[in-house]
């Protein structure tokens, strides 16, 4: 999945208009991640990347962009 498509998925998870996410948003400060959006993130990571990240690890990512790069790193291992 390309970055643009990943951002689009993030728009869906956080119930935002398409194209809202630019990658610089903080999961906890800007997007106010909650239990439901965390479920959505875990599903996207598993379904589209075959990666299972713990919620504690996801929340440590500073931005959506940092999360995307972390996913790419995990995919190469």
């Amino acid at each position: 999945m390309e970055k643009k498509e990943f951002y689009s998925k993030m728009d869906e998870i956080f119930e935002l208009d398409t194209g809202t996410i630019t990658g610089t948003e903080s999961l906890s400060d800007n997007l106010l991640i909650n239990s439901l959006s965390m479920l959505g993130l875990i599903l996207v990571l598993d379904k589209y990347f075959g990666i299972q990240m713990k919620p504690d690890e996801i929340i440590k990512m500073d931005t959506i962009n940092a999360l995307f790069h972390r996913i790419q790193g995990l995919k190469t291992h």
Partner: protein, 324 residues
């Protein structure tokens, strides 16, 4: 050869209903439609204040007896699965022996498991029957998780409903390897904090009943790791493929989780049961309720080979093959 087989299943749902409209009025961030979309649940049945697990179990078993497939005098062993017993002691199964007029020569015990409990119960019943200790087992699952729920906790109140189910398992006189087979199990106690009622028992005693805590994302992560592996183990143990199974009945956790698991394991939609709209996640009763509904709707029929897959609190999981 002694083979144990499920003869009949009945279930009971308490009268009181909490529907999505009622929850949406309380939780302003949610609409009734959003609750249904995310959970697949329209309503859940909730036990009355004076209604306990043994009451639900009693009604489920009376329905089983009323169906005529078995009678109280026939029962040789009662297995009862609950995590919300009427009392710390005595054993709920012992109380039911008396209330249901089951013979005093019957064995009875409770076991403490949640959503994985039904498949474990089937395994215990199989062991008792196939080793010749008894000829039949009344397996009861009964939960009133609602009594543990915080009124303000939307994550559990949208999901869980109360229920009981009664299953009669008996010696199958047909001398073929049918019935209950190829059990696989799993346990990972490191997940104990993610679905727990911490206070109110003996480690953290308090006068009030403890509250149910659920870490939804951690539970979801556990299921997407454990359940596909359990299904794979079952398939390998049975030396079958996904296509050899006529139907799959998983613990009815919530629609969101089940849809992803079905997709991940590549189970065809027409072979996979998802319907918790009217009763919600009823913990250890969700599989027998789904099994009974699938029979009633003719989604499964005599001779079908079914995979039952249960998973949840503990963490604990199990799967088996059932020939209807």
């Amino acid at each position: 050869m002694r083979n144990a087989k499920i003869k009949a299943v009945e279930f009971y749902l308490p009268e009181k209903i909490i529907d999505n409209e009622m929850l949406a009025k309380q939780f302003s961030d949610w609409t009734a439609e959003k609750i249904q979309e995310k959970t697949g649940i329209k309503q859940r049945h909730i036990a009355a204040a004076d209604e306990c697990a043994s009451d639900l179990a009693y009604h489920a078993t009376k329905k089983l007896f009323a169906s005529g497939v078995c009678a109280a005098k026939d029962v040789e062993f009662i297995l009862l699965c609950t995590q919300s017993p009427d009392y710390f002691l005595p054993t709920t199964a012992c109380m039911l022996q008396d209330r249901l007029d089951i013979s005093t020569s019957a064995g009875a015990l409770d076991f403490n498991l949640g959503c994985s409990g039904y498949v474990y119960g089937l395994s215990l019943a199989k062991g008792l029957i196939e080793t010749g200790q008894v000829n039949n087992v009344l397996l009861i699952t009964a939960e009133t998780y609602s009594k543990y729920m915080d009124d303000e906790d939307v994550s559990v109140r949208t999901i869980f409903g109360d229920a009981a189910a009664a299953t009669f398992i008996e010696l199958d006189t047909v001398n073929k390897p049918l019935g209950l087979n190829h059990f696989v199990f799993g346990t990972d106690g490191s997940g104990k904090e993610n679905l727990i009622v911490k206070e109110g028992a003996l480690r953290y005693p308090q006068s009030a009943l403890g509250k149910l805590f659920m870490n939804g994302p951690e539970i979801f992560l556990f299921t997407i790791k454990a359940v596909p592996q359990a299904v794979n183990s079952l398939i390998n143990k049975a030396q079958m493929t996904i296509n050899d199974f006529d139907y799959f009945i998983f613990h009815q956790a919530n629609k969101y989780m089940l849809s992803h698991l079905r997709d991940k394991i590549n189970i065809p939609a027409n072979k996979f049961y998802i319907d918790l709209a009217n009763s919600g996640n009823t913990v250890s009763s969700s599989i027998p309720i789904a099994f009974k509904d699938a029979l009633s709707k003719k989604l499964i029929k005599t001779g079908d080979v079914i995979a039952l897959v249960s998973f949840g609190v503990g963490y604990s999981w199990a799967a088996c093959l059932v020939t209807v």
